[in-house]
Subunit: 345 residues, 2 copies
Amino acid sequence: MLWFVGLGISGFKSLPNQALKILENADIVYLEQFTSPIENDDLTQIENTTTGEFKIAKRWFVEDGKEIIEKSKNQKVVLLSYGDPYIATTHIELRVRAIEEKIKTQSIHASSSITSMIGECGLHFYKIGRIATIMNDMKSLITPYYVTYKNIIEGNHTVLLLEYNQDKKFFLDPKEALNDLIETENGQKRNVVKPSSYAIIASRIGFEDQKIISGKIENLNKIDFGKPPHTIIIPGRMHFTESDALKVLGKCIDEPFDNSEKTEKISHQMMKKYVPMVQEALEEIKPHYKNKKNFQDILENAELYIQDAEKFLEEGQDEVAILSIGYADGLVDALRLAKGLDPKM
Amino acid sequence: MLWFVGLGISGFKSLPNQALKILENADIVYLEQFTSPIENDDLTQIENTTTGEFKIAKRWFVEDGKEIIEKSKNQKVVLLSYGDPYIATTHIELRVRAIEEKIKTQSIHASSSITSMIGECGLHFYKIGRIATIMNDMKSLITPYYVTYKNIIEGNHTVLLLEYNQDKKFFLDPKEALNDLIETENGQKRNVVKPSSYAIIASRIGFEDQKIISGKIENLNKIDFGKPPHTIIIPGRMHFTESDALKVLGKCIDEPFDNSEKTEKISHQMMKKYVPMVQEALEEIKPHYKNKKNFQDILENAELYIQDAEKFLEEGQDEVAILSIGYADGLVDALRLAKGLDPKM
């Protein structure tokens, strides 16, 4: 029998009450602490609750899983881990392997830092987009950068988890991660994470010394965030109840604002450039085609497609809007080229 | 003093152990059960743990919040709720109001159905996109439909929470919600939720009779999912470890497959239609403009822009690709209109 038990986010005291008896009666309890650090007091309390063997399990040991699977065949084994157990995909894989080996498995879920953190910051959970992790040895932050970009243009908030390495006692500093994102911005230029962007640093959620500090990245850069774990949240569109809550529940060194206003969709950026450009090119070419019936149709069509493009954008049909403005541009430029005029740029 | 305490997903037994003493010592415990049903046995166990007043709090009562705030000024008050407390934005708002009234607040987080469900299905949590809720009285499912669409084209999974109304003892049937989504599909035609799409129904997660059934929607339609709560998950791109886990952890009435393969981006759908169409229109018009210098430039430009459009799409610059094919289309159609030919459709 193999139990996957979540410790929750606050150490021993966040352990679900049904788990106490299971720890007590287990033949072996493995404590996995590679996803987040666990305090010494909690370690002692957990150890005192167990009557069987108590072992610390390192990452390689859980990934390898052989000993855990072997012992679970005849004994009551618990794998205890920080937060909710299956946020770590390693644990899902171990469970699947155990079931395939005909071992009975059970789960006890517990509080997760992800849901807890969002609520503690006062953000609405249904506005969280895809989550990304930032590791220290990543060659580039292009992936978390584009996860953030795609979330922001939909108005979603982005949770950026930061690497924790138990063996090296290493936790990625949130300032370092933010500065690496800004470096990525300098190459990608999508207006996603700039020194003037708003970010939230949620530190030690669930611990007594929990801290939520938010502000412009350039100002967060001056702060010492202290002991890990830390998580970065890049908010997207903020409902006023969210900014109000953030101000009351955390410390805002700058007034919260909407990052999504600055990060315009590519389609919107393009329309802002092309609609006035095509309109101007059209007005310029009109006098050249006075009283020419077939060409009047083309001019009228161009006019209509410019209007349609704006209507489609308003309706959120961005792709059709771009197609329409491109089409209008083509009609107008054909008329220009036919008269030996250069296309507008 | 006001405590926001999560009950977790499994009733009394999922309550974090630190919460037991807090319930015992509270002057008043309000149990909110409008976000999900709570079993009678659990109600009794909770009530037996309290020594102060114990009251069931309806939705309007928590939203109004006046009594809770008033009592918290001089007494130890607990608001106990299913899952993790701040998934319900009502609770965040109540906490903010309490703090503004100088009331001390504390949170005890617990297991949430969202993180638990994803792990129980064997899906990777970092692939969950924005969550949506389906309510029975929604005029249309356009919003959850497009949330799903946007998630799928990014390869993300979509969690669709279904309405639960405590007062009316009403829980939206997952089959009804799926069929309403298919109806929306028939109008929107984005290839998001069709009878042949893959869906997961996660039922009663955290309860003894938890069930995870997945398959093509047309086959799920024949199943009685029984007692609520149920949640729909529309998977996006599935890693093989995810499909393997889903098969071991749940019941798959069809082999799991990748919905995202069928749901093409709008930009890709448009390019598939327009590139051959513009190419054909161009070939047709060429003979009409033999040996006309200015018009040769237009024809060459059209050719180049068609090629560019395809190149941009390959590079992932979808918007520029659409602009280019639209432009080529405009150039060609201007030449057609000038000769009294209708534009290609």
